[in-house]
Amino acid sequence: AQSVAQPEDQVNVAEGNPLTVKCTYSVSGNPYLFWYVQYPNRGLQFLLKYITGDNLVKGSYGFEAEFNKSQTSFHLKKPSALVSDSALYFCAVREEGNNRLAFGKGNQVVVIP
């Protein structure tokens, strides 16, 4: 069965510092990986996805993520965090042949001015 782990409940980072949000996954076969962000009292917004090809994926708002097959990871990164990046971040995976997405529990990111 497909699953996602986001090991940290909260990530605190100073404004201007690099931001990393961790995600590991478990699937049978090839994974399709997604990152979403949720601002307070809002729905989820799509950030980026990995389907195939280049392991480094670039997305919205300056975010990128690196697919690492050997470590089964898909960490989200941003070189320089902004206060406005403070939000809840969800990693999700779908395996081939399965139309459902499996979501992680979410990471609260707090960017300190």
């Binding site: 399709y32 009292n41 729905g43 989820l44 799509f46 389907i51 139309n99 459902r100 979410g106």
Partner: protein, 114 residues
């Protein structure tokens, strides 16, 4: 841009009431989904539908039913609301059968059952 709308942002109901949550998408998507979001549990799939009048149970269907009479509209029904159904409910949609297609989410309905 894809637009997914939900009928209410906030809803307060009493135990035992029948509750309808409505979701509409304007991108002619075949797939539609209902999730509930609870702190520390992430998003859990309640039901999804891949075509009109078609539905499949997700991971937590107990206490819920769904209706999809038109392609653009997917309704979640709580037959007899209970306090443990207090939660944020999120609707999403995407194209079928494109498994790589992104799911697009509505703004959510925060339901409180008293």
């Amino acid at each position: 841009d894809v637009k997914v709308t939900q009928s209410s942002r906030y809803l307060v109901k009493r135990t035992g009431e029948k509750v309808f949550l409505e979701c509409v998408q304007d991108m002619d998507h075949e797939n539609m989904f209902w999730y509930r979001q609870d702190p520390g549990l992430g998003l859990r799939l309640i039901y999804f539908s891949y075509d009109v009048k078609m539905k499949e149970k997700g991971d937590i269907p107990e206490g819920y039913s769904v209706s999809r009479e038109k392609k653009e509209r997917f309704s979640l029904i709580l037959e007899s609301a209970s306090t443990n159904q207090t939660s944020m409910y999120l609707c999403a949609s995407n194209k079928f059968p494109y498994l790589t297609d992104t799911q697009y989410f509505g703004p959510g309905t925060r339901l409180t059952v008293l």
